[in-house]
């Protein structure tokens, strides 16, 4: 792909990233950080590609380490974020939560 196309993707993504996150409330800072953290675990795609092209055992081992690290980032990131948000979730609908508790 030509450099300017890549640059255009980059620039547009910068704007999207900036705009989407600006003005988020401080209560959500940690989950948002952790969610964004999970997203960059997508480097796993890159790690898989290099592991699939490794030409000797040495390179393969390094590539598999990258796959392992990236998997931990990706899977752990999404799971941890979900757990965190599970706890946050209810907090935002106190009325509903109360009803449910009352029903038990």
């Amino acid at each position: 792909m030509d450099p300017i196309t890549l640059l255009t993707f980059f620039v547009l993504s910068v704007f999207v990233g900036f705009e989407v996150v600006s003005k988020v409330s401080s209560t959500l800072h940690t989950p948002l950080m952790s969610g964004a953290n999970a997203i960059h675990g997508i480097i796993l795609v890159g790690a898989i590609i290099v592991a699939g092209q490794a030409e000797n055992v040495g390179l393969l081992i390094v590539a598999l380490i990258a796959v392992l690290l990236a998997t931990v980032n990706l899977v752990g990131g999404f799971v941890v974020t979900d757990r965190m948000l599970e706890m946050f979730g209810g907090r935002k609908q106190p009325a509903k939560a109360t009803t449910e508790e009352g029903a038990r």
Binding site: G17, K23, I42, A47, I48, V72, G77, R83
Partner: protein, 457 residues
């Protein structure tokens, strides 16, 4: 396998990228946050399926096995970790991501063409390594494997500058020669740089540094996208880089700090840890029994939890105390300051984990008018978030930060271990006011004693 055409592959990657955008969008509003995260996970799944179906891959079995091992490591840890340990886990996950990006770039070095791509490799190796080692140090600090206070050693700034210069030189060497050896050197220097970078940061500033390293890792992933010519990595990485930058600034400003101040504060001397000198002015301290009597005969109690509650892991004891008081007909609510604790939203998470019902957790704006009618404000391991200096003394480092108005409660009880100040390192005049009582000791121990005494009333 190459079951997918180039167009189909690109389209599926685009779908994954859109999922990531929607994930970030969702995460920035409380109502849609959880769904947003799931959309993100779905996007990742799409991307993984796509890479397997579209690329000719050797070592397929090994790769899949490694992914399974990785998932088997990450999922249970993530599912089981205590809420108090979330920040360090996020730091760790961020670090391994940065490490993975650095390794991927190193391996691609022999395949890339063109100066631009080699520059991207050098960037990824260096920044990925910084992100990896920096995150490991933040992990160690938060996990208390090492002291959380800023670690400054004589000549630190000079060593740091030298390492930074050496890294730059190695990067230039790499770009000019394309020599793999240069990339190993760069990796090593990056690792050292990351350590030096995070050591001088104080414990409470660590969340901001994690966020910054998170943005760094995002940028390395974007650069890997350039190296591999993969649009998805480019877009996803850039998204994280950009939103992480904004988030870092937002976090810093929510606690009234500047990012540069945090990173270089310890070097410059105006340390982020503030003073830790205990005051020796006289205060009124009392016993757990006295506090129990105060609480037991109150009608309305407002609990203000802070950093100390988290450190002492006292949330469960606190929750039990609240239940016990409520059983006696005493109204108990919790006043939650947005930056109380170690990370934004920390108190909400902590107390939700301890099964404190949602409706007694109140945000700052809700709870502030209620202090006037409260009999006791019970401040558990909080300090800065109730310090009136934020309103009254323009010179103080927390000036302008909104605070919980505990001073207007009839009685104020502080649970802390000593007369040392809080994170901002400034004395709290409220400790010396006539309506204030102190109960010294670890929050968990003190609360346990108070709980026993309340039950015995």
């Amino acid at each position: 396998m190459s079951l997918l055409s180039i167009e189909a592959t690109a389209l599926l990657y685009l779908v994954a990228a859109v999922c990531f955008i929607l994930a970030l969008k969702g995460l920035s509003s409380p109502k849609s946050a959880r769904r947003g995260n799931l959309i993100g996970a779905f996007g990742a799944l799409v991307a993984l399926v796509t890479v397997f179906l579209s690329t000719e891959l050797d070592n397929l079995a090994l790769i899949i096995a490694t992914i399974l091992v990785g998932s088997a490591i990450a999922a249970p840890i993530s599912r089981r970790v205590a809420m108090t340990q979330m920040p360090q886990l996020v730091a760790l996950f961020n670090g391994v991501g940065g490490g993975a990006a650095a390794l991927v770039a190193m391996l691609e070095l022999t395949h890339v063409e063109g100066i631009g791509a080699v520059i991207a490799v050098a960037f990824t190796v260096l920044v990925g390594a910084v992100s990896f080692s920096g995150s490991v140090i933040t992990f160690a600090k938060l996990q208390e494997l090492m002291p959380t206070r800023p670690i400054v050693f004589p000549g630190g700034p000079i060593v740091m500058s030298l390492v930074a210069l050496a890294s730059l030189a190695a990067a230039v060497w790499l770009v000019i020669s394309g020599d793999p050896l240069a990339s190993y050197v760069l990796l090593g220097l990056g690792l050292v740089l990351g350590v030096l970078f995070v050591l001088p940061v104080g414990g409470a500033d660590v969340p901001i540094v994690i966020s910054l390293l998170n943005a760094f890792t995002g940028l390395t992933v974007a650069a890997s996208g350039l190296v591999l010519g993969n649009t998805l990595l480019l877009v996803a990485g850039t998204l994280v880089g950009a939103s992480g930058t904004i988030l870092t600034r937002a976090m810093a400003s929510a606690m009234g700090r500047s990012v540069a101040g945090i990173l270089f504060g310890a070097f410059k001397g105006g340390s982020t840890a503030g003073s830790t000198v205990a005051s020796d002015r006289p205060v009124r301290s009392s016993s757990a029994e006295d506090v129990a009597i105060l609480l037991g005969y109150a009608q309305r109690v407002i609990v203000v939890p802070g950093y100390g509650l988290a450190v002492a892991q006292a949330q469960h004891t606190m929750a039990e105390l609240a239940t016990t008081l409520e059983a006696k007909g005493i109204e108990v609510v919790f006043g939650i300051h947005p930056v109380a604790g170690r990370m934004p939203g920390h108190m909400n998470v902590l107390l939700a984990e301890a099964n404190v019902p949602y409706e007694v957790l109140q945000e700052m704006d809700e709870v502030n008018p209620q202090f006037k009618t409260a009999d006791v404000a019970l401040v558990v391991g909080a300090n800065d978030v109730v310090n009136p200096a934020a309103k009254s003394s323009p010179g103080s480092p927390i000036y302008g930060m909104p605070i919980l108005d505990v001073a207007s409660a009839r009685q104020v009880v502080f649970l802390k271990r000593s007369m040392r100040p809080g994170f901002a390192g400034i004395e709290n005049e409220l400790l010396f006011e006539p309506q204030t009582t102190l109960l010294f000791g670890d929050a968990k121990e003190s609360l346990t004693k108070v709980l026993g005494a309340v039950k015995a009333l």
